[in-house]
């Protein structure tokens, strides 16, 4: 009995280990990056960049189809294989995300113009991705899977890339945390403190796009956007300092991921629901009491401030 359970567990582990590792790495990376997104009040930037990444994947699918149709000589084989590879989709997702991020995050302009650009990118990318593949049922299905985050599954080599991105995010944020927080909340002060504010804005925009672009290809729009903003929002609502938000956000993301993915590894424990959507749903539900706590705390603080 125990032996059969263990052998089944080993089988499940072999089957799901990459998905498990990938879910955790994406959760950690995005929940850390999301702390800055939330501190900057740029929540919908995440949605717009995620949508732009989807457009990149749709473009990759169209180019792959085009290369197959116009495939004439054996020399074309190499190019065609590249167009059909997952690496090409990932590259296109990242390129689209970087382009979108540079448009919306780049330089500080008026809030209205900024929000208009976000709305434009979100709508054009979402509609564009669907229209591009509308006549190809296979590609359309893939885009739908990207939108609904029901596509988890990466190779081990891709997990190495995700681990690298997670590590760089963690190291850079730990080393430059105070500066990043000042830049997010008071860019003029950051600039007058000798920080190269403009350079750091560009680095932030590009890195955010790389994180989102990679995550989208591996885990889809809902999981990517959800992991980017929900853990950071929960942590911001419950924590007393921004430093603890930085620590709590990945813990919250990890907690939700483990809660959902671990049962998938244990025979007979699977919920039967899509893990990525379940994780985001759990985080969304957890945000409600966090918001209530935040409102109570804000009222209490306002009361204390007015009595001073």
């Amino acid at each position: 009995m125990t032996e059969s359970f263990l052998s089944e567990l080993a089988f499940h582990w072999t089957l799901y280990q990459n998905m498990f590792a990938q879910g955790i790495l994406i959760a950690v990376t995005l929940s850390l990056t999301g702390v800055l997104v939330v501190a900057r009040n740029q929540i919908f930037t995440g949605a717009a960049i995620s949508a732009a990444s989807t457009l990149g994947i749709a473009l990759a699918l169209v180019l792959a189809q085009y290369s197959t149709v116009h495939h004439h000589t054996p020399d074309d084989d190499h190019a065609t294989n590249w167009y059909h590879s997952d690496s090409f989709k990932t590259t296109m997702a990242v390129i689209s995300a970087v382009a979108a991020s540079l448009i919306v995050v780049g330089r500080g302009r008026s809030r209205n113009a900024y929000e208009a650009r976000i709305g434009w990118i979100f709508l054009v990318s979402t509609v564009g991705a669907n229209l591009l593949v509308a006549k190809s049922p296979h590609s359309l299905e893939e885009i739908h899977r990207v939108h609904s985050s029901s596509i988890l599954g990466a190779a081990q080599s891709e997990n190495v890339l995700l681990a690298l991105v997670a590590m760089v995010t963690l190291l850079v944020l730990s080393a430059t945390w105070r500066g990043q927080l000042l830049l997010a909340t008071d860019p003029e002060m950051a600039s007058s403190s000798g920080m190269r504010a403009s350079l750091w804005q560009w680095i932030y925009a590009i890195w955010l796009a790389i994180c989102i672009g990679l995550a989208i290809r591996f885990s889809g729009l809902l999981y990517t956007f959800g992991m980017l903003v929900l853990p950071a929002l929960i942590a911001r609502s419950c924590c007393h300092t921004m430093r603890t938000v930085l620590i709590a956000s990945p813990i919250v993301a990890l907690g939700a991921t483990l809660l959902v993915f671990v049962p998938e590894l244990i025979p007979g424990w699977s919920t039967g629901y899509p893990s990525e959507q379940l994780a985001i749903f759990l985080l969304g539900v957890a945000l409600l009491p966090a918001w209530c706590y935040q409102q109570l705390r804000l009222r209490w603080q306002q009361g204390r401030a007015s009595h001073r």
């Binding site: 003029e188 002060m189 007058s192 300092t241 921004m242 603080q301 001073r308």
Partner: protein, 226 residues
């Protein structure tokens, strides 16, 4: 510390101030004053190197040569109440770019808290502080760099008269006791007369530098107030 000769300032091709001559020495307490729209913030942004002068020469020496010993109190604060932060965490953000060992950073934080009478509120939420205390925390955020020069853009704006006086007294104390050179942008004519050792009066696209006790042009130019 700051030598400006025949300086023209503005944005793009639009000149807002021209022919400015200012010579600011260490230990002085300067006010930059003038009616709305006369270019006070433009002048401050130029002194902070956020704007390049359109003409003339501007040279910095001593503590103004780099940003490490320059403290800034900006006019507006962009953070919102939903951003959780304690007084100490908020103040310590001012040490960005200071490149000091952890022990010195801690000592500087203690100094800033002590000089602004906020030591007791260090671990409280910044949002629990009163308006006056929050403004003192902003000054502390500039002091945490142990500045030689402190530039404050309208630090008394929106505060009660009583709190304004207390804050200006605190600034005078920083100038007199700690030898910090102060440049304060203010609309408050009485404050200028009471606290300034020097004043840059901005009007009609230019600036006049005044030195105590020769502040009569303030009344002539600004008349019944700002």
């Amino acid at each position: 510390m700051i030598d400006a000769t025949n300086l023209s300032l503005g944005y793009g091709s639009q000149i807002i101030l021209r022919g400015i001559d200012l010579h600011i020495q260490a230990g002085q307490f300067w006010f930059i004053t003038g009616r709305n729209g006369t270019g006070k913030t433009t002048l401050v942004r130029t002194l902070l190197r956020q704007l390049t002068p359109l003409g003339g020469t501007l040279s910095f020496s001593g503590a103004m040569q780099d940003h490490s010993r320059l403290g800034v109190v900006p006019q507006t604060l962009r953070i919102e109440e939903t951003l959780p932060t304690t007084t100490a965490e908020f103040i310590s953000l001012g040490s960005v770019g200071a490149r000091l060992p952890r022990r010195d950073l801690r000592a500087n934080l203690d100094y800033a808290l002590e000089r602004t009478n906020l030591a007791a509120q260090a671990n409280q939420s910044y949002w629990e502080l009163s308006g006056g205390q929050q403004q003192r925390a902003r000054i502390a955020r500039a002091l945490v760099r142990r500045p030689k020069v402190l530039i404050a853009d309208e630090p008394t704006r929106g505060l009660d008269v009583e709190i304004q006086s207390a804050l200006l007294e605190q600034l005078r104390d920083l100038n007199a006791t700690d030898g910090i050179t102060l440049l304060v942008v203010s609309h408050n004519l009485q404050a200028v007369k009471q606290y300034a050792s020097h004043c840059a009066l901005l009007s009609n696209g230019g600036a006049v530098a005044l030195e105590r006790p020769h502040f009569d042009p303030l009344e002539d130019t600004l008349g019944g107030g700002l």
